[in-house]
């Protein structure tokens, strides 16, 4: 019905948050337009960039799901834009948004958290190239 609106709403919030965090990071780094901060010769991704992954997942998924809803005639190009509202099925639509929509947002956020975990482990792991160089010495 309109389940994609929940991930889309989350996308709006995370996009705004990413912009604020990026501005703060740039300010903290002396107005240098750094996308990556390097510490101890190990490239470290900024949090705003990692939040960008979630934005892309949410926006991309919402856009393609919006198309699916247009395909099925659940979203129309005229007011009130949602056929469920037009046909007096607002309660059913809200229930679906509360179940499927919230589950979608939760799953995508969980996958993103998993990605954060993996990137944290990779950043902590010593570089393979330097490892091989040390071993050959």
């Amino acid at each position: 019905m309109a389940c994609f609106l929940i991930p889309a709403a989350e996308a709006v919030i995370t996009t705004v948050a990413a912009k604020i965090i990026k501005a703060k990071e740039e300010k903290d780094n002396g107005n240098l337009s750094l996308t990556d901060i390097k510490t101890d010769d190990t490239p470290k991704l900024t949090f705003s960039r990692k939040l960008g992954w979630l934005n892309k997942l949410l926006w991309g998924g919402s856009a393609l799901l919006a198309f699916e809803h247009i395909w099925h005639g659940e979203v129309v190009p005229y007011f009130p834009f949602l056929t469920a509202v037009q046909e007096g099925e607002t309660a059913a639509m809200l229930a679906e948004m509360g179940s499927a929509g919230v589950l979608m947002a939760v799953l995508i956020t969980t996958v993103w958290l998993g990605m954060l975990g993996v990137s944290y482990i990779i950043e902590k792991r010593p570089d393979k190239a330097s490892d091989t160089a040390e071993e050959t010495q």
Partner: protein, 104 residues
Amino acid sequence: MTLLITIFAAVICTVIWYKTAPKNEMKVGILCWMYWGASLMWFVDAIIEYAELGAEFFTPETADMINDSYLGLSVVALGLIIWLVILLVSDPKGVVRAALTNKK
């Protein structure tokens, strides 16, 4: 079928992205994010549908399968169009800019 087609598209794009990394001049990453995002969302839809239908979920009607496949391919096409627009607008290789400023 829509979920399956989108997952295949996501996997293919991810393999292409990995093969061309770290250059990523073609911005294939955009396609990866889009298709994986949609795949995850349709996966939730599939779980809910499976909870309602049970084993019947795996034996759809032929007409439904054709319609879903048609939708899946259309979704992949839409993703490709979005990617192409972003690629041409951002123009990472400067090709569009060069073509527009070439006075010959």
